[in-house]
Amino acid sequence: MIENIANTLSGMQVFDIFQSMTLGLMEPRSHLGEAMMNATVAADDYRPTKRDYSLIGRDARRAVEIGLSAAEWYHTDVPRKQMKELMKRDDGPAIRDTMIWLGVLIQSGAGGALLWGSWWCVPFFLVYGVLYGSSTDSRWHECGHGTAFKTQWMNDVVYQIACFMIMRNPVTWRWSHTRHHTDTVIVGRDPEIAVMRPPDLVRLVLNFFGILDAWQAMIDMVRNASGRLSAAERTFIPEMEQYKAIRVARIWLVIYLATIALAVYLGSLLPLMLIGLPRLYGAWHHVMTGLLQHGGLADNVTDHRLNSRTVLMNPVSRFIYWNMNYHVEHHMFPMVPYHALPKLHELIKHDLPAPTPSILAGYREMIPAFLRQLRNEDYFIKRELPPTAQPYREEFHAEGKTTAE
């Protein structure tokens, strides 16, 4: 539908529509043509208004009405033969990585527990925390897609373990991530936008220690365990799946209550250092890498090259993150398992913006953009394409900043 819009209107008119959408000036209309005619008028009446990120709010309705939700997204052309090779599943890499992950997790946890009471436990808990509170973000993600292992039950087992540790209800988050892939960074539709505009910097900093996320996860767990789902959860979890979210929340609640009871009984924080608290003290790595995925880039576009970021990283971070640093590639082709993403990157990089060369470079680009968005929430970083790439539609980027600046 977006393509149809572009074919029938001039570039400036289309820009007006997208600007109006993001400025929140268009009122919901039941008829697409009427909404589009009003859009041009509304853009002249510029005044900054906040985006409505609610999944049942104004921007959510608008995205559906103008066809920005569930739209056709840009894909780089890859011959079927090569794509089949890349999509091929293999248990080997994920079994190896899972053995390393769980092996080091258990050893560091045991080391920390044995040395509890002395400062020597600190390095053990630093490792344990990252493997518990950060590695599980990527394990949740890859196993949720069902691409990490070839054997489906292995994906399911690791998915459940990772969900518990990262405090994401396996049912709720499977469906929220499905929506994230349908409507990536579409305001009002994507439930997984990490940095909303204008950015809440206090929230971002607190989440490096998992504080707000874990607190929210606990509230959600208790609400779900009591048999209730929020209105937002009901927008993306089909009715037939909702009882599963409630069942898992009840099991988790029992585990956390048992852990707290043990801590009280022993008069020691140690049980909580092993279960629960690592989601706080080990969260920093997954927040650090996760913010890079879409932070500071365009919203309300239908081209992952514009709203996602590929970042080159050191091998340790890539192990923790299971190659999700190839984020444009993952969004374009979610069927490709994490271990094949570097190959996919090589194959399609001629059609993508140059990857951000490091985590540090990513933050150097992103932090000034966040600060600028505090004053002007419509500001975003414009990705530059190499000359070999298929062009993207310029109207998306009329107000952006080039990475070359």
């Binding site: 569930a70 069902g146 070839k150 499977r174 499905t178 349908t182 069927m335």
Partner: protein
């Protein structure tokens, strides 16, 4: 009334793969299993109407390219979230190296 429609050459579909076939405003997916049997289903995923022919065939499973939803392409059965609704299947026959679909 049902009729057999010639879709493509049997050789057009690689082993353990799928191709798209459009006919009379409808779209279908034609599969060749690892055992060289042929099957056909509706061409669009029941979750969000994405072409399954861009997906991955593994044994008797077709995995959707958009959210990795899985179906058994032999029976059309949905095999877990995010697909909840089964795919419609169609009888297939191979004659003189050509694939025919019986459309309901």
């Amino acid at each position: 009334m049902t009729e057999w429609i010639q879709a493509c050459d049997a050789e057009d579909v690689e082993q353990e793969d799928v191709i798209r076939f459009d006919h009379a405003g409808r779209t279908f997916a034609i599969y060749r299993s690892p055992d060289d049997d042929y099957f056909a289903t509706d061409g669009l995923c029941t979750h969000e109407k994405v072409h399954l022919a861009d997906g991955l065939v593994m044994d008797e499973i077709i995995e959707c390219p958009k959210h990795n939803g899985r179906f058994n392409y032999k029976t059309g059965a949905a095999r877990g979230a995010p697909v909840c609704v089964d795919l419609k299947t169609y009888p297939v026959k191979v004659e003189a190296g050509k694939i025919f679909l019986q459309l309901g």
